[in-house]
Every structure is written in structure tokens, then in C-alpha cells.
Amino acid sequence: MGPITATHYIGLSAILFAIGAVGVGIKRNPIVIFMCIELMLNAANLALVAMGKHLGSISGQMMAIFVMAVAAAEVAIGLGIIVSIFRSRETIDIDEVNLLKL
């Protein structure tokens, strides 16, 4: 086992991203799908930070911070939508919720 390089981090990031993608594909509970999307965003962040370190630039970290800000806004809205769908339809099964109106 040699020293840990950016390649290791990016490999880990690819694995996490793929796991998140599987989750988005197979889950029907929108909250869990949402969590899997967060997992994918996190994996992307790891790759960004690792690449930034690899290139000796702070840009990777800056992008990671913006991803976090966007994720926070997205979660606030997404969970709000899920709660209001549940209020009006009593279910949040992703296959049942197939109308655009509430």
C-alpha cells in the first residue's frame, strides 16, 4: 500500500457515486431517492476536493462549498414538496404520484 494519492480519493468517489446512482434507480421512496442524490453530490464533492489538491488549486474546495449551498436549498424545497404531496395524497410512493397537480 503506497501513499494515498488523488487517484484513491477519486476511485472512492466513483464508487460512492455509482452506489448513489443504484439507489436512485431502484428505490421508490422519494425521501430515500433524495438521500441517494445527496450521496452522489457528496461523492462529487470528494472528487472536487481531491482534484483541487492534486492540482494545487483552491478551486476544488470552492466548488465543493457551492455544491453544499445548492444542496441545502434543494433539500429545503424538495422536502417541502414531499410533505405537501403527502398532505394531499396520503402517499409518497414515487409511482403513485404521477400527476403534476397536487
Binding site: 492540482l55 494545487g56 488549486s57 483552491i58 478551486s59
Partner: protein
């Protein structure tokens, strides 16, 4: 008071100081808990004009130990409908952040003779890290998981209500707390806990509470209110509100697991009082140079004890808030006030900064400029 840098085998005192600090701080916090419980009960009794514990030991001083032994020896009951793993993990998950927060608590500044007459100030702290205050904010935000998961795993309606209330309450008050803490960071100009305390050396007027008047004071008050809410103490003890929710999130917990929740409450009370001391009230600094002969850790402990007294006093004085009143206080009062204090402090700081410092952005050294054209060209070769 100068301490010689004595040699201990292959190490010197300075080398082992973080480990000494770790053992001492953790030990003091865990040992102080029973006395804290005793103190709280006696003080409450005093305020409510009754006797309080006075049977076990002198002045009832051993009452908390007796209670502890009782809890240890009680049968460990596991209700049949709980989610076992999470049910058992919850008290531990609550304890870890409470104790881990001690790592950046600056207790004292030791004057150590490094040999050859060179005297250095070495902080008595486990980890003197740059982002100490961010670390603390991260840990306080993790502490809510213990309560939320305990409430959910118990599979009990009252527990679930307690967990729900706790998560909403913590998120709401964490915002105000973070804004207040950021104001303190702005005033001190550092995110390192030791640097924050060092920047407050001098008299009472140099403490962060008294700087940028009245902004420092306002931020301190916001922090103190949010800190009571974060530790789920009365009048913000809605997660366990015994008159509505039986015992809230720990209704289903018995014996040792309940004891852990109980200890956790007091440990986090001590830790967060320590943070308030370091951030606003000068940490180990004495209130006046004339009192400098008293060692720093005495001041620190005195201030923490004062906070604990305030905690008990508040609990005895104020009734529990209604849920909507709690949310209204957090979002409609504290958050705007904290935000305003932060923005005004930043503006004030920017205005009074000398013009030559404002003239431009500090030059960032070459390594960070990889994405600028010139640097990219040199990289391409």
C-alpha cells in the same frame, strides 16, 4: 507562575501536555456531574423554599452517588417493540459529541520555562486547532441525533413527539447560535479557541461581551439563550416536557441508559458553559490585571460555575415555553437580532479598519494561483 519544562523519559512536559489535558478535562467533567446534580437540587430547593436532599452524606452531598448506584444496579429493561440497535446506540451517540467537544476547550495558559530562560505560553488544551470554533459548532449540531434517534427507536408516541420537537428546536436555535458565534469570531479575529481567549487579555472591557458595544453584548445574550435551548434545559426542555410527554425522548429508557442521558445533559451543560466562557467572558483571563496572581484555570472554573448557577436559576424562574412560542422566539426574535448584530459588527469592523489595509485584496501566494493564466502556462510546461 512559571513551570519548568520537566523531562519525562523521552518526552518533555510540553509533549505530554495535550494528553494530560485530555485526561484532566474529561475526568473533571465526569466527576463534576454528581456534584452538579446535587448542586442543582439544593439550589432548586432553596429557590422553591423547601429542604432538598439532606439525608445521604453531609448536606446530602452523596445523594447523586446513591442515585447513580441505584441506576447502575437496576434491571436493564428493553421494551419489546423498540428498534434494538438504534435504541442502544442513541445514548452513546449523544454522549460522544458532548465529550468530544472538550477537545478544543481552552482551560488555561501555562507559562513554561523551555530552558535557557526562554518562557513560552503553552495553552492547556487537548487540540489547539485552527478551526476550533467550527469543530464545536459541528459537534453541537451532531448532538441532536441522540435525542431524535432515541425518540424514534423507542416506538412510543410520546418519545417520537419528543424527538420531533428536539430536531426542530435544535435546527432553529442553531442558526441563532451560529450567527452569535460568528459575531464573536469577527470580534476576536480568529476561529482558533486559544487565539480567541488570548485576544481578550486585559480587563473586563477587553472581553468580547464588552467589545463593539452594544453589539458584543447583544450577541452574547443571543448565544446564552440559544445555548440553553441547545442543551434542552428548562425553559426549553420541550423534548422531555414531563407534564405533557411523560418523559419525552427517554420515556422508554431505564437504568444505565437513562443514566447516560442524564449525565450527558450535565456534561454538555458544562462544556457549553466552557465555550461561552472562552468565547465571550475572557476564558482564563482575570477581570483586572491586579488579580493576575490567581491562576488562569481558577478563573475559568469560576466562570463556568457561574454559568451553571445561571442555568439552575433560569430553570427555577421561568416556566416552560409553549411550542409555538419557542419557534416564534427562535425565528422571529433571536435570528433577526443575531443577524443584525453580525452585519453591524462586520460593517463597524470594516469602517474602522485603516485605509491602507482596505486598499486591496491581500496577495495570495503562488500555490493557490494554479487557475490563473500565468500559473497555468507555467504548469503546462
Amino acid at each position: 507562575m512559571v513551570i519548568p519544562n520537566i523531562s519525562l523519559g523521552p518526552f518533555t512536559l510540553v509533549d505530554v501536555l495535550p494528553y494530560v489535558a485530555l485526561v484532566t478535562i474529561l475526568g473533571v467533567i465526569l466527576l463534576a456531574t454528581p456534584f452538579l446534580v446535587w448542586y442543582e437540587r439544593v439550589a432548586l430547593a432553596l429557590i422553591q423554599d423547601r429542604l432538598g436532599p439532606n439525608r445521604v452524606g453531609p448536606r446530602g452531598l452523596l445523594q447523586a452517588f446513591a442515585d447513580g448506584i441505584k441506576l447502575f444496579l437496576k434491571e436493564d429493561i428493553r421494551p419489546s417493540a423498540v428498534d434494538a440497535t438504534i435504541y442502544y446506540a442513541a445514548p452513546v451517540l449523544m454522549m460522544i459529541p458532548a465529550l468530544a467537544a472538550c477537545a478544543v476547550l481552552p482551560v488555561a495558559d501555562l507559562r513554561i520555562d523551555m530552558g535557557g530562560g526562554r518562557i513560552e505560553s503553552v495553552p492547556f488544551v487537548v487540540g489547539n486547532v485552527n478551526i476550533g470554533i467550527l469543530y464545536l459548532l459541528g459537534l453541537t449540531s451532531l448532538q441532536v441525533y441522540g435525542i431524535v434517534l432515541a425518540g424514534w427507536a423507542s416506538n412510543n408516541k410520546y418519545s417520537l413527539m419528543g424527538g420531533l420537537r428536539s430536531s426542530a428546536q435544535t435546527i432553529s436555535y442553531e442558526l441563532s447560535m451560529t450567527m452569535a458565534v460568528l459575531t464573536g469570531v469577527l470580534i476576536s479575529g480568529s476561529t482558533n479557541m486559544v487565539e480567541i481567549v488570548r485576544s481578550q487579555a486585559g480587563t473586563v472591557a477587553d472581553w468580547n461581551i464588552a467589545k463593539f458595544l452594544p453589539l458584543g453584548f447583544i450577541a452574547t445574550v443571543v448565544y446564552l439563550i440559544a445555548m440553553v435551548a441547545e442543551t434542552n434545559r428548562a425553559p426549553f426542555d420541550l423534548p422531555e416536557a414531563e407534564s405533557e410527554l411523560v418523559a419525552g425522548f427517554h420515556t422508554e429508557y431505564s437504568s444505565m441508559k437513562f443514566a447516560m442521558f442524564f449525565m450527558c445533559e450535565y456534561a454538555s451543560m458544562l462544556v457549553i458553559s466552557g465555550v461561552a466562557t472562552a468565547l465571550w467572558f475572557g476564558g482564563w483571563n482575570s477581570p483586572h490585571p491586579a488579580l493576575n496572581f490567581v491562576p488562569g484555570f481558577v478563573w475559568f472554573i469560576l466562570k463556568v460555575v457561574a454559568f451553571v448557577m445561571v442555568y439552575v436559576w433560569v430553570r427555577a424562574t421561568l416556566p416552560r415555553l409553549r411550542y409555538d412560542a419557542l419557534m416564534a422566539l427562535g425565528w422571529k426574535r433571536l435570528l433577526p437580532i443575531a443577524l443584525a448584530a453580525l452585519v453591524l459588527t462586520a460593517t463597524w469592523d470594516a469602517v474602522r479598519t485603516p485605509a491602507d489595509k482596505k486598499s486591496g485584496w491581500p496577495v495570495i501566494e503562488a500555490p493557490h494561483d494554479a487557475d490563473k493564466p500565468a500559473a497555468r502556462a507555467s504548469n503546462a510546461r
